[in-house]
Symmetry: C2
Subunit: 421 residues, 2 copies
């Protein structure tokens, strides 16, 4: 049997070779392969669910908690939903080959900046097996070969999914080696993958904070990572307080476990006495726990509030908890955001034009909102179609990342014998 | 006296604080500061040249070679040229604040993708003191604070230049801390800088291969590096051979010491007997040495040719030397390029439409040419104005990098109370 290292090297080389062919495939062929994958996921339901059962049995035996078990579990309905997601990717415009800009230079050279795939994308992910189909579809559509390395606990599910996806893609006309799945679950392998900058053009970590940090710290190639969202909302004295309450409720309660949910509410002292009780009343219906600075605490005592600790500022709660602070000015609010934000999404609620302009000009996060909920930070909501994740990095991509963010460009220059004088 | 580490930390914090103010400055103020810098470089000529004399004396005493001494030397004329380069940057359009795209979403949210500075840029460079003014101007115009760390051999020159630049920038209305120069020349400091990903958003190495590799290997933040240019030119059987000869001469001879000069000539076997002697005749006028594969050697023996070694393929010569190989097809040429290219610039000379289309579609380098010299790969030639360097990376930027490549974007979303359903 081959060693772990051999498996990785062989598959990476195969992916690299396939990536050149994949980069040239027409949209038609890629879409046909995607539809074939979607059909395969449903047609091969039996095998996939049987493999998933093995993972589930092992996970239960090892004492995995309920939430994790639920994330691991596949059934007929979930496979249909995964197939639908693949069809959605098929329906998106193909970013490859787009002319980003083009012009004729004074010497007659015709200069074009053309969108092309990145090459080979490595994906390191945990538990949820749907990442296998999801990211394979996004890579395929953007013309990139992909090397998938999933978590140990989902090995049988991922392996079965990868087999179905590879065969279906090949049936649709895509080189089978364009999608690679690493069977070995040795830990050492992740470190090896992160060193393969000659073979892998980009690494995407999909999973918890620890995994993402490990990848960022050790990768020798660029990393496209979704960052934590420590989201702030500042309510200005001129705000429409009903609107502020509605938005605060939506941003905190509608889906508290995601990165674009509200974490910290900043309220101007001029309106805190009126505004905070309005919001606290709505929030308390959803049992939101408030961690308050001393001034907010004075206003909110008696409701579901307690004193904030230093750790509550700059904390991503991912739960029905919010930090609350009274500030004396827009500047103080923006200072707080600059200090504690993770650069994901921040909002101001105001009717003051100058405050809105200053906030959007000066707050340096991926997404800056006026009078809207931070929950809109999402590829689908922004009209990008499917999404690879939400970047809090500043390089290459910021905010929701769609298919375009899995591409780069090349310059194509057509001449008629020009030489440099 | 403060320790090295303290100097770096203090200056990085100051740069970070200044970067927020700098990001908001109007184009008018930034341009005024740039003009003030240009004037300062000429007005303070005496101090700068005196400081440079100290570096030159030390360098001569330490036995530095002539070419290096010439790169280190500053005089009145060179300072004027540096001042002119700064004025050129002042005249370029400001990338900051540009709306990259904008649209209204179905729910009425107004979505804008707006260009913003990256923040703080660290620059690690060697010998040439003109990098100090050059890169300071590019960073200032793109709204980024900069931390400069030059080579030991140019310490006095760089320090004098930085002093003039900082004071002139401040006189023009830019926060003085937006431009930082590290006085300490301890080696340890580079490693420390590369770990400061909280304070420094991007690192630019400017210098030799070793410096660039060290930075790429050890930086914890993104790196914007200029890569080696191993440039290929393939002459197709249908090529206009006079044009091919003219372009081969220009690409190899016009400036052989730069990255976009030709390194490897690939000629189709159908025309090699006619084409190679034509090119060899022109090249021999400039004393170009040819390192030939066996088939090219057969045709070229007697002229300035010798057998190529394995090391000649995929080698950047930076001199009047070229590798020469006869191939039997476009596919063989493209295979050779895929294997040996550094992804910088490649050209095909052809009158065959299909060959030109395949070459531009399939060769995956930053710049792909038809019937033109690779020497055009240059920010100025591409109409980008000044240039930070030429990227052979695939992430963020490819090919010539201008002011835009020193920026990122943020999403600005203007609403009227929208919440997520």
């Amino acid at each position: 049997m081959k060693s772990t290292s051999d498996e990785l090297k062989t598959k990476a080389q195969a992916a690299k070779a396939a990536s050149r062919e994949l980069a040239r495939l027409s949209t038609e062929v890629k879409n046909r392969a995607l539809v074939s994958i979607a059909e395969g996921l449903v047609a091969k339901e039996k095998q996939i669910i049987a493999a998933n059962r093995r993972d589930m049995d092992e996970a239960k035996a090892s004492g995995m908690d309920k939430a994790m078990l639920d994330r691991l579990m596949l059934n007929s309905e979930r496979l249909k939903s995964m197939a639908n997601d693949v069809r959605t990717v098929a329906a998106l415009p193909d970013p490859v080959g787009e002319t980003i800009e083009a012009r004729t230079l004074p010497n007659g050279l015709r200069l074009e900046r053309r969108r092309v795939p990145l090459g080979v994308i490595g994906v390191i992910f945990e538990s949820r097996p749907n990442v296998t189909s999801d990211i394979s579809a996004l890579c395929l559509k953007s013309g990139n070969a992909v090397i998938l390395r999933g978590g140990k606990e989902a090995l049988h599910s991922n392996s079965a999914l990868a087999k179905v996806i590879r065969e279906a893609a090949a049936a649709g006309g895509v080189p089978i080696d364009a999608i690679q799945f690493i069977e070995s679950t040795e830990r050492q392998l992740v470190s090896e993958m992160l060193k393969m900058k000659q073979a892998i053009d980009l690494i995407i970590p999909r999973g918890g904070e620890k995994l993402v940090a490990l990848v960022i710290e050790n990768a020798t190639m660029p990393v496209l990572a979704s960052g934590a969202g420590i989201c702030h909302m500042y309510i200005d004295p001129t705000a429409d307080l009903k609107m502020a309450t509605r938005i605060a409720y939506n941003a905190k309660v509608q889906r508290p476990t995601v990165c674009n949910a509200l974490d910290c509410l900043l309220v101007h002292s001029d309106i805190a006495n009126r505004c905070l009780p309005m919001i606290a009343k709505e929030w308390s219906k959803a049992k939101v726990e408030m961690h308050c600075d001393p001034r907010a605490m004075k206003i909110l005592k008696g409701v579901n509030a307690r004193r904030a600790t230093a750790a509550d500022w700059g904390r991503e709660f991912l739960a029905l908890v919010a930090a609350v602070k009274v500030v004396d000015s827009l500047d103080e609010a923006m200072e707080h955001i600059a200090r504690y934000s993770s650069g994901h999404s921040e909002a101001i609620i105001t009717e003051d034009y100058s405050a809105a302009k200053r906030f959007t000009d000066e707050v340096n996060s991926a997404c800056v909102y006026v009078n809207a909920s931070t929950r809109f930070t999402d590829g689908g909501q922004f009209g990008l179609g499917a999404e690879v994740g939400i970047s809090t990095q500043k390089f290459h991509a910021r905010g929701p990342m769609g298919l375009k963010e899995l591409t780069t460009y090349k310059w194509v220059i057509l001449g008629s014998g020009q030489v440099r004088p």
